[in-house]
């Protein structure tokens, strides 16, 4: 689970890339031409996290792991926006992320 949290991480390595992707998401709201590239980078991130989710337990087949990965990466995006807009501290975000990942891994079907 530690590796999973680290990879999803808010304020972790790869943060610069995450911020670029978030800027792409924001711009894609008004520019449909940016959507394919934004979708591709988001898909790549979700796929990488899905592999780590799948590795935590045999309960997660590829489809279930992907669903959990989408929920967790979206949660991390929401947290990242709060951290960068000064609403939530980075340490607090990481603590909450650990709790959410734990709950998802324990309880997701």
């Amino acid at each position: 689970m530690d590796e999973l949290v680290r990879h999803i991480g808010v304020g972790a390595a790869g943060e610069g890339r995450a911020r670029v992707r978030m800027a792409g998401l924001q711009a894609a709201v008004f520019d449909a031409e940016l959507r394919p590239a934004t979708r591709r980078t988001t898909d790549e991130w979700e796929r990488a996290i899905a592999e780590l989710v799948g590795a935590t337990s045999a309960r997660f087949d590829a489809s279930a792991a992907r669903e959990v990965a989408v929920a967790l990466t979206a949660l991390a995006d929401g947290m990242r926006q709060r951290v960068t807009s000064g609403v939530l501290g980075a340490d607090e975000a990481r603590r909450l992320l650990v709790g959410a990942v734990q709950a998802m891994l324990d309880r997701a079907p």
């Binding site: 709060r82 909450l96 324990d106």
Partner: protein, 199 residues
């Protein structure tokens, strides 16, 4: 101008602000476009709102007050706490333009706040109020046994509302549909339900 007509004019201006920002984004929006859509004179608009920033702040407040999740949570008293929280938050993902525009305003102001610290306090205030409303719903769920969580009520509300914002970014950007956003949020919420429901 009568006192009674002021709130409706003000509300019309705020609804028009949401519509204009939803069309082109916050960076591109101009006050004169809002006056045109609201069918009011620029003078009247500046009577209510001192400047562009004041208008953006008021639009964010308006979006927060009108948010489906806040209003549904206040009224779904026949449901379990979990069901009320779930229904209220799933309702945030709605392609109906008025609801989508409210989400878009919130998303836009939160995004510009990442570059403009002058908006931090405004975003923090509406986020905190939303979190408090959801926390009340979570507390109801814990009390009636429908919500189970190792996280405290306030922490869980923070997690849930962050997930709504993250999914909202993808939905507004056209990466996922309204139904996919609801399904993904439902999956996350089920991790905190005593009796998970089918999505």
């Amino acid at each position: 101008m009568t006192q009674g007509s002021e709130p409706s004019r003000k509300e019309r201006i705020l609804a028009a602000t949401c519509a204009v920002i939803a069309r082109r984004g916050i960076e591109a929006f101009e006050v004169k476009d809002v006056a045109e859509v609201a069918d009011v004179t620029p003078q009247l608009l500046y009577y209510h709102f001192r400047n562009r920033r004041d208008l953006i702040r008021a639009a964010l407040e308006y979006a927060a007050e009108q948010a489906p999740s806040v209003n549904l949570l206040r009224h779904d008293s026949d449901l379990t706490g979990f069901e009320a929280v779930r229904n209220a938050l799933l309702a945030e993902f709605d392609d109906e333009p008025r609801v989508r525009n409210l989400n878009l305003i919130w998303n836009e102001v939160a995004a510009i706040a990442t570059q403009n610290p002058e908006f931090h306090a405004d975003v923090a205030q509406v986020t905190s109020r939303w979190g408090e409303q959801v926390t009340i719903g979570v507390l109801r769920g814990i009390a009636d046994g429908s919500i189970e969580s190792e996280l405290g009520p306030g922490d869980l509300a923070q997690v849930i509302t962050c997930a709504v914002e993250g999914l909202s970014q993808r939905w507004l950007a056209g990466l996922i549909s309204q139904d996919e956003a609801r399904q993904n949020l439902g999956l996350l919420l089920n991790a905190f339900s005593a009796a998970p429901v089918d999505n």
